[in-house]
Each structure stands twice: as C-alpha cells, then as structure tokens.
Symmetry: C2
Subunit: 214 residues, 2 copies
Amino acid sequence: MMQLIDLSHPLAHGQAVFPGDPAIEILARHPAGYRITELRLSTHQGTHLDAPFHFFDDGVTVDRIPLDRLYGPASLIDFGPLAPGAPITVDMLRPHAALFRPGARVIYRTGWDRLFGRPEFFVNYPSLTLEAARWIAAQRIALLGMDTPGPSEDWLEVHRALLAAEIVIVESLANLDQLPPAFTFIGFPLKIEGRDGSPIRAVAEVGPGVGRKE
Amino acid sequence: MMQLIDLSHPLAHGQAVFPGDPAIEILARHPAGYRITELRLSTHQGTHLDAPFHFFDDGVTVDRIPLDRLYGPASLIDFGPLAPGAPITVDMLRPHAALFRPGARVIYRTGWDRLFGRPEFFVNYPSLTLEAARWIAAQRIALLGMDTPGPSEDWLEVHRALLAAEIVIVESLANLDQLPPAFTFIGFPLKIEGRDGSPIRAVAEVGPGVGRKE
C-alpha cells in the first residue's frame, strides 16, 4: 500500500525567518464573492530548495534544474536527535557511503525540526563540517536534504562546496522521523524565472518496493 | 522509459495578472556573499490550484487538501484549439464520460495557453457552461485541470459548482499538447496555512503503462 508523507512545514504569517531574510506575510484579500491571498516571502522561507545561482553568478537557476533530479528514489540517514551545534563529520557519513552514488538523493535527519517556527531554529543547529561537505560534493549526488535550516552554520563555504557540485540542497524538511530508509522523494520548485531558490511542498511516497531502485 | 513534462508557466516579474489580483514582483536581494529573492504574488498567479476555501468560508483550505488527490493517474481530454469564448458543453464531455470516475483526475486542453503572459489571456477564454460544470461536479472527480485562467468566464457560479463538490481546480496549465491521453499528474500546493490556493509546479510523468490504472 502506497502512502504519502508530508515533509513540509506550514508557511504562516509572521513566522521566524532566516536572519536577514524578508518577513513572511500572508495577506488575506477579499474581492467580491471570493477570497485570495497575497504572499510575500523569501525564496528561502520554510521548507525550500537552493539552486546553484544562490551562490554562483553562472550557476543554474531554479527554473532550470532538471525535474528528474527532484523526483525519484531517495535514502534517509537518521542521525537520531543530535545535540545543538553537533558536527556532522566524514566519519559519520562513511558507514552510509553506499548511498552516495552519482545522481543519488540523500536526506539526513538531525531532529532539529522540533524548533521550526522559533528564532532558535536558526542558531547553533547540527552542521556538516566543511570536510564532510567536500566529501559529499565529491560523490556527485543530485540532491541533499536535511531538517536543519541549512547544511551548516559554516554556511558560506559549505553552500559553495555543495552548489559548485550542482547538488540541489533541500532545507528545513519536516517529519523525517516518519520515513523508512528508502522512499520516493518529490519536491519540485516553483518555476521562478532566473532566480536562486523556491519554497517547495516536499512529499515522500513510501510503500513496499518504493525507492529501492532507480 | 519514463519522462517528466513540465506543465507550468514561468513566474516572471511584472507578468499579467488576473484582473483585481495583486501584481507579481520578483525582487532580487543580495546579502553579502549570496543572493535571495523576495516574492510577492497572489496565491492564484500563473499555474496554480484553487481550494474550496477560495469560495466557501467552511471549505477545505489549501494546506489540508489530501495529498493523494494531487498525485496519481490522470487523463487528458484534448479539445484541440478552441475559438475565443467557445463554450465547453455537456455534449462535448459526454464522449469522455468514462474518464469521469469518482476520484479521477481530468485535465482538458483548449490551446488557450498560447496567450499566457498577456492581458488577453484573461479575456474571452473557452469556458465550461454552468450545465457542464454541474455535470462534472456530479461525477465527484478529485481534480479538474485546464490551460485557461479558470474553468469559465461565468466564474462565480462555475467555481462554486466545482468547489462545492470538493473538486480541486488546477488553472493555467502549460504544455498540454505534449501529453498522451493517460499520465501521472503531480501538483502539490505550498503548505500555506489556512488559505485559499497556491501557485504550483505541475508536472506529468509519462511512459509505458503510466497513469492507466489507480
């Protein structure tokens, strides 16, 4: 029996944003007879993905990421609840090396999503070491996802290492504790012309035989 | 061989909006060392979906639409290029009645997407008659999609007929001319808390055996 698991946090008016990002505003509008909403938010609000253009002038923009990178078999690495500021090291990744095939989608859980929506979410979160990010980049996976607001508090260098390898980074995922080790990941960005990222509705399909082969 | 087809129009700064909707603004921001974007747009801009709350105070909101309505086997009805203002009638639907099973996803093509991005897109588009909308509502399908900005210029009554039946409406689809009769539809909304609709990245998966059964 197939089942869909929602890997996305809700977008809510006034929720905490990454330091320096614009506020999120969800503004009700009521023309006669129906209702619409004006959204104002960063492309990096809530559950979202980063395109290489986020850090590189000549990087791929979010509307041009090949769709097949964002939909297909994926693997979970569950680091259980990690302590605030815990480093995620190459030694922690190495036991899972078989998952890091070229083109693979790998998502890791730290348990940090319990703080989502509060300012503390953005401070002292478990982080890839720069060495670990470079190790991942060298494997040429297609997509790396996590339940923290980014892959590392050493954000500049770690983002650069991953995005230079054209790895799509999916940040602030939810409900990773509900995932089996193998599943199908679905997470397409809005087709925002020529820009750097997009909020997404990330979803996992789970069930017998799902996600175990390409 | 599976293939993904992008059914979404690009979101671009200043593109034409539905009359009365807020402007779409895609605003580049450049903190030190990287770039982000502030989005300002209606929940009904470009390729998007409508939740029942769009018209009904007690209707399901976009964050609560069951995900399995938005992902799965779907059918295309190709009406070829229809003339401006052409009515889509019950007589035109009846030959395709077998597709309208309870829970089905049905998408129809009018050819109107060629005008997307221009103000003319929103005027005199091919439209379901109210009788046709009520016929569809009675079939209790899960999702109805189209390449026009809405199901009908008789927008109030037709939206009410479809949304009262809890049919998700997917509007302003692109590239429907590339679709086979049966495919897998994927189109999840952003998880916007308690609101009426969402821009989406709609995608079709096509290939041998795809979309032919539930």
